[in-house]
């Protein structure tokens, strides 16, 4: 079982670097969230929608974008006047703590920074195991994905502190049962704080942003 031993060593090393990231962020008074989801669940759209709310609440924030290739997402964020840094992971299906450690000097150089938003690669498996040094892992699940997902990908729901059920505007056009999705998620992780949003209409985003701003202020 060489593969497993190597993987455990990689994960242990990642945990060490994540702990250093967490301490560096805390020392500088920066709260960090790690947004994870399947591809196309709406992570970037959520960050776009959150931007105005967080600005209105007076929270200074920056975004680190993880993608296999390209800088489509960081460009979308920069267009809103928000500082964004792109990390391209190549063939790797998740961000790791080492990559994030290299982004921290850039993060700390942003004026008035209180919150770091990290958007992970779209993947519901490996990001569950790679701590980046964040304070809150935020799982985004699209209503179009089906209400059984918490039972099929339990590790990532279990590792998250908050769950955002996005694309709520699509619910009437699908067989998605939002109560069943909530029940399944809470079966896997009874501590999950659950929000419902539509990044197309903006519904629910203000409530999520207020909760996040509270967490940022509470950590000080």
């Amino acid at each position: 079982m060489h593969e497993i031993v190597i993987e455990e060593k990689i994960l242990a090393r990642n945990d060490e670097i994540a702990a250093r990231n967490r301490k560096a962020l805390s020392d500088k008074g920066v709260y960090a969230i790690n947004i994870v989801s399947a591809p196309g669940a709406g992570k970037t759209s959520l960050i776009e929608r959150m931007a105005a709310e967080l600005k209105a609440l007076g929270i200074g924030f920056a975004v680190v974008e993880g993608d296999l290739e390209g800088d489509f997402d960081s460009k979308r964020i920069e267009r809103l006047g928000i500082p964004a840094l792109q990390i391209t992971t190549g063939r790797a299906c998740h961000l790791d703590a080492h990559q994030v450690s290299h982004a921290l000097p850039w993060v700390f150089a942003q004026p008035g920074i209180e919150l770091l938003v990290i958007e992970n690669v779209g993947n519901m498996v490996c990001p569950a195991e790679y701590d980046l040094g964040e304070d809150m892992k935020v799982m985004v699940m699209s209503a179009a994905e089906g209400d059984d997902k918490p039972l099929k990908y339990p590790a990532i729901f279990s590792a998250s502190e908050a769950l955002i059920i996005n694309k709520s505007d699509l619910v009437p056009h699908t067989d998605f049962d939002i109560k069943k999705a909530r029940d399944n998620a809470l079966k896997v992780n009874p501590y999950l704080k659950i929000f419902e949003t539509s990044c197309r209409t903006g519904a629910g985003v203000a409530e999520w942003a207020r909760f996040l701003a509270g967490a940022v202020r509470h950590a000080k």
Copy 2:
């Protein structure tokens, strides 16, 4: 760069076993497809919808289901009277050729078997690199995921022979531009054969099933 060397060795070993799977399948006259997608794009629903069409076309087939945990998907398929075998991958974010090699004796024991349908773990990154010994890799993309996905996850679109754009019934309720999605996919892989389906209404499934049946018969 120890990590990369180890990964290359693992991939080279996987390719060897995949080649053996491919030969064993071909020797027994069984055509194989490997269905990949993001979580919740509708792979299992597609297999359910294909079942009646393939039966009507006289194609004998069996299904191997890959999931992190549980046997929800194989139970859904068995309910239709189709033989289904569940492989649980635990923490692994993709099926590999070795796991599939262990399923082959069960596959070959199915009476009248001509087609093996493998449903991979929901993940748009690593399944692109792990050949299972299939004849056709089939990428399923949900219209709810956004038309930019081929540009953001190019490897998996590039490794596939067919692309199924599913949940076409949701298109009127989203900003998804089906022409842009097709153009982006063909930019990454000009050889892709593209189908549009809705597993909710059944639209487009017959056309895809006829194409697949043709490929199965042509391979004989």
